[in-house]
């Protein structure tokens, strides 16, 4: 009877211990966004006006049957300036980059690209944030790596860095 009681206490302790670790883990788990939701999915068929001319463009028609990068940016976004040299690095390695200009004005976007140089093959305007929702974006900057079959193979929330550049160049 005594052993049985001890066993019950042991089971209870294990149960509460597990509960404690479960809550502790949930409490201290970093609240990262979920970039994985879009990874592995087909890149949406997005059509919008170009920044450089008034043409309506489809992203799928801009890509040249190779790996390409889609970057959401805005002239008012400070982290976009931080990641800009890395985008230029990708461009210099002949990686095609398509820009999505998020809630910006044409003038400001053009000034931004004149000042920091233009890494984009094309830029689509996203005045209302609709393209970004279609991409499952949380804000700016965000970058998608898309393969030649238009499958999203990676997504970076926030500014890209050297690791992202290396990853793209290795996958090429």
């Amino acid at each position: 009877m005594y052993l049985k009681k001890e066993f019950k206490i042991f089971i209870l302790l294990i149960f509460f211990g597990l509960l404690f670790f479960l809550f502790y883990y949930s409490l201290y788990k970093t609240k990262d966004f979920e970039p994985k939701v879009m990874i592995g999915k087909q890149f949406p068929n997005l059509t919008e006006e170009s920044l450089f001319n008034n043409e309506i463009l489809n992203i799928r028609h801009i890509s040249d049957n190779d790996l390409f990068v889609v970057n959401i940016f805005a002239s008012w976004c400070a982290p976009c300036k931080v990641e800009h040299p890395f985008l230029m690095k990708l461009k210099n390695k002949n990686i095609l980059i398509i820009g999505i200009n998020y809630k910006d004005t044409k003038d400001n976007a053009k000034k931004f690209l004149r000042k920091f140089k233009n890494p984009y093959q094309e830029v689509l305007l996203d005045y209302k944030g609709e393209l970004s929702i279609n991409l499952g974006a949380y804000g700016v900057p965000e970058t998608y790596l898309v393969d030649k079959n238009f499958k999203i193979i990676d997504k970076q929330i926030g500014p890209i860095n050297n690791d992202f550049v290396e990853k793209v160049l290795n996958l090429r």
């Binding site: 809630k103 609709e130 499952g136 949380y138």
Partner: protein, 117 residues
């Protein structure tokens, strides 16, 4: 008659606009603002929340059902965008745990009662 028709169409438009606003509010209240802590899309004024609200409103005006709107947003942002979690294999324990604990509790109480008798 002419004035009556004009008045009738104005009333219908107001009623339609109100319905769109009400549905937008209802859906937005059930959507989590993923860039804010603990706020719904309806409460938040962040860019993300405003974009989602605009999207919801636009889709309602296109006669999309609530389910179609939720399904689209879940496909883009995952289950965490809605406040009422869906029943999936991943969270089945979350739904079953209260029932399991209730049954265990009843079992223990009845056993104790039988012992004391």
């Amino acid at each position: 008659m002419k004035y009556f028709l004009v008045f009738y169409f104005i009333l219908i438009n107001i009623a339609g606009a109100n319905e769109v606003e009400t549905r937008t509010a209802t859906i937005s209240k059930n959507l989590r603002c993923l860039v804010c802590d603990g706020q719904s899309v309806y409460e938040s004024n962040s860019d993300f929340a405003r974009d989602i609200k605009n999207y919801v409103k636009k889709e309602i005006m296109k006669n999309r059902t609530d389910k179609e709107i939720y399904d689209f947003l879940i496909s883009k942002y995952g289950d965490s965008i809605i406040f009422n979690p869906l029943l999936t294999l991943k969270n089945i324990m979350l739904w079953l745990a209260p029932a399991i604990f209730f049954i265990i509790g009843i079992f223990i109480i009845t056993r104790r009662l039988n012992v004391t008798k």
